[in-house]
């Protein structure tokens, strides 16, 4: 299944950052497999109707932070398993949490209800 990207302009977070967060969250949750190729810059730019520089910036940051590697002639892939820093972990968790809230809101479920559920539920 191709990686889903959803741009939420109401979040007030720049689009390149939202792409960055979507990829890190997909890696953390296992939605993006380690051997799965990421869409090319132009594919993703066309799919989201955004500027290619925006996707390039997100991929460059992901590359610099060690989440992905670009292989010449093959494409862009998730990097080898890495240990997340505390700051990265916070960012990924925040991103997952925000998306859960947004998803719940689209079903008419309020944030406090989601938070109560998270506190109650055991893995």
């Amino acid at each position: 299944m191709p990686l889903e990207f959803h741009i939420d302009y109401d979040r007030g977070v720049p689009v390149y950052r939202q792409i960055y967060e979507a990829v890190t969250a997909a890696l953390a949750s296992g939605v993006l497999a380690r051997d799965e190729q990421l869409p090319t810059i132009h594919e993703l730019a066309q799919r989201l109707a955004i500027n290619p520089n925006t996707v390039a910036r997100a991929y460059r940051d992901l590359d610099q932070d060690g989440y992905i590697v670009s292989q010449r002639g093959r494409g862009t892939f998730p990097a080898e398993e890495r240990t997340l820093s505390s700051a990265d972990k916070q960012r990924v968790l925040r991103s997952i949490f925000d998306r859960a809230l947004a998803d719940a809101a689209s079903h008419g479920i309020a944030a406090p209800e989601v938070i109560r559920f998270f506190q109650k539920v055991r893995p």
Binding site: G12, V13, R94
Partner: protein, 280 residues
């Protein structure tokens, strides 16, 4: 970098896009013709509003706004495509996008013509304070709604939500937006000055002939097309910067980095700082 060199650099970058996609120039020209046509249609109908001249002014403002915004939406959608490197750039494509945003365009035009009407009333006042307030409010309004049309095109929002979102984006890019407003006015003044000189030369060479008038009209039309499209390209690029956090090509040159700093890199208020638990 001075304001003047910044304006020159931004105009050069917009010009590069316009040279690659010269069809964009037709949108402001078509807008002008469509406005004239609409006023010719609406004009006779205004006779029934003889007793309410203010209402007639409002109707005229609404018609002008409606046509202007319609073609601006078309132009902006094609300018955004041009900045993305998408092809082809067509007049039909822009008009189809504008038709798809008809209800947003109508609500935008209704609000902006109402504001325009209030400003017109304030401007006609003999009270100097009111006229000053008009100048301040008018400038503020045009700055706050500067990115509303790119928002309407890209984010498919309604007229009023587009204005609101433009206000949010303005808070992040007020310097760049103000520079653009000033830049377009400076550029327009230079072009008008150039046109006046050319008109004098033409009348001197050809006399007060029909040919001279036609040439001057063609030049004025071309100037409107060029200034309008350059401004729309710059506005689209500024929207990409404000919303996506990245400077698009060909605005991403070294000189322009000094004008557009990548402010969105700063952590957002809703993002946790590193090593800090997120506040729920």
């Amino acid at each position: 970098m001075t304001v003047f060199t910044a304006i020159v650099e931004l105009t050069k970058a917009s010009w590069q896009v316009l040279r690659r996609h010269p069809r964009l120039i037709w949108f402001p020209i078509l807008s002008l013709f469509a406005t004239l046509a609409m006023l010719l249609i609406v004009g006779p109908l205004l006779a029934v509003l003889d007793d309410a001249p203010w209402l007639a002014i409002f109707v005229v403002l609404f018609v002008i706004q409606l046509v202007h915004v319609f073609f601006m939406v078309g132009l902006t959608s094609e300018a955004l495509k041009a900045l993305r490197g998408d092809a082809p750039i067509t007049i039909g494509g822009g008009i189809a996008t504008a038709c798809g945003r008809a209800s947003s365009i109508a609500s935008f035009a209704a609000v902006s013509s109402t504001i325009g009407f209030v400003l017109e009333v304030m401007g006609r006042s003999r009270n100097a304070a009111l006229r000053f307030a008009r100048a301040v409010f008018g400038t503020g309004w045009s700055l706050v709604t500067y990115l509303a049309i790119p928002v309407m095109v890209q984010e498919r929002r309604g007229g009023i939500p587009s204005m609101r979102r433009s206000g949010d984006l303005f808070r992040r890019t007020w310097g760049e937006t103000t520079l653009s407003e000033v830049g377009v006015r400076v550029l327009a003044q230079y072009v008008v000055l150039l046109l006046v000189i050319v008109a004098f030369v033409l009348v001197h060479l050809l006399g007060e002939s029909v040919l001279a008038v036609l040439l001057i009209l063609c030049l004025a039309g071309a100037a409107i097309g060029v200034i309008g499209s350059l401004e729309a390209i710059y506005r689209a690029a500024l929207y990409v910067f404000a919303s996506e956090g990245v400077v698009p090509e060909p605005f991403a040159g070294a000189e322009l980095d000094a004008i557009w700093r990548t402010k969105p890199d700063e952590p957002k208020p809703d993002e946790p700082k590193p090593d800090e638990p997120p506040s729920l």
